[in-house]
Symmetry: C2
Subunit: 204 residues, 2 copies
């Protein structure tokens, strides 16, 4: 002891990612992080105004690490969508509780803006009006977050001795193809006639 233990924002994020991967989101507390870094809990508030903002930074870094930096910019819209969603899945699967973290962060409106914007742009270029592109992009993200969160839950269950929890690429691919096929249908319908009576779909 005697040496001061100064850190930068990026040191904190880096260590948070390793705690996340090793012990899970539930064990990722400000106090634990501080203790690990040899610092008082209050010191972390020099770098982040709240735990939520720290988690947002961790989620951003997790997604940034999962990004392949060169990526096809041309091709059919459905292929481009599949690439973005597959990359997002891989990024979240790379860290324990990655999907839970990203979903939590984007629930309070902070993370995953990048993939959301990319999907919206691709779908706009594919011919959807802005509102439709936005809705379709959100629907894709809901699928990806939900599906990968399920995969990681089962993964952890199987790590604790249960059976049959390996992530199935084909399940993800088929689920994604459902949403993509639905969007294709929306593109074809749009401009022509939107269903005049949506109430049947509401069930009342």
């Amino acid at each position: 002891m005697g040496e001061r233990v100064r850190h930068r924002r990026s040191d904190v994020v880096e260590h948070a990612l390793s705690v996340l991967d090793r012990y899970g989101l539930a064990d990722l507390s400000m106090r634990r992080l501080a203790t690990d870094l040899g610092v008082q809990p209050s010191a972390l508030y020099h770098h982040f105004a709240s735990k939520q903002l720290l988690l947002a930074a961790v989620a951003d870094e997790l997604l940034a690490r999962g990004r392949r930096d060169e990526r096809a910019t041309e091709g059919e819209w459905d292929e481009l969508v599949a690439v973005v969603c597959g990359e997002l899945r891989d990024a979240m699967l790379a860290y324990r509780d990655g999907a839970e973290l990203v979903a939590a962060v984007s629930a309070f409106g902070l993370g995953a803006r990048r993939p959301a914007d990319e999907l919206e742009q691709i779908l706009g270029a594919a011919g959807l009006a802005p509102a439709g592109a936005r809705l379709a992009a959100r629907t894709l993200l809901h699928f990806v977050f939900g599906h990968v969160a399920d995969e990681q839950t089962q993964l952890q269950a199987s790590a604790s001795g249960a059976i049959d929890g390996l992530p199935q690429d084909s399940d993800f691919a088929v689920g994604l193809s459902i949403v993509i096929a639905g969007i294709r249908d929306l593109i074809l319908r749009q401009g022509n006639e939107l269903p005049k009576n949506l109430s049947w779909v509401m069930g009342r």
Copy 2:
């Protein structure tokens, strides 16, 4: 004082629902619940082995209250699916943080078994093989949970003075119609040929 304050399981669940609706999921703690009921925190563990199981019971009750008890059993599969999903949405929208609660509970494999089973059964009857019906049902639930969670987040933001957060039935209907159209496509494709090369959808 002097009167003993005995409660039954259902009293605890009932009060938990009212705390949820009034103060939100973050304020729904075992200690707060106990204090409200005039009881020691440890007393709750007579009724529930853990907070997670208490939350599961609360989610079950929330969904049970949202159920219309007589419901069409015949009709087109897409209409039946829309009814189940719309009812699920209404049930969650009826309580503050309802979607967050149900999603959290079903993430650790406890709640919303009812809607999941119903959807699976409807989709099986529509001609999907068991694995496909299961996957399609989960995809529908991911959409509903994600979409309604978004709606409730925006609802709370707008309650705190922000603009433009009213739940839009039409957004839900359009999003749901995307997933339903995708499932329709899957039903048509199945038996014939499944896409031989799914790797394009994985993006690598």
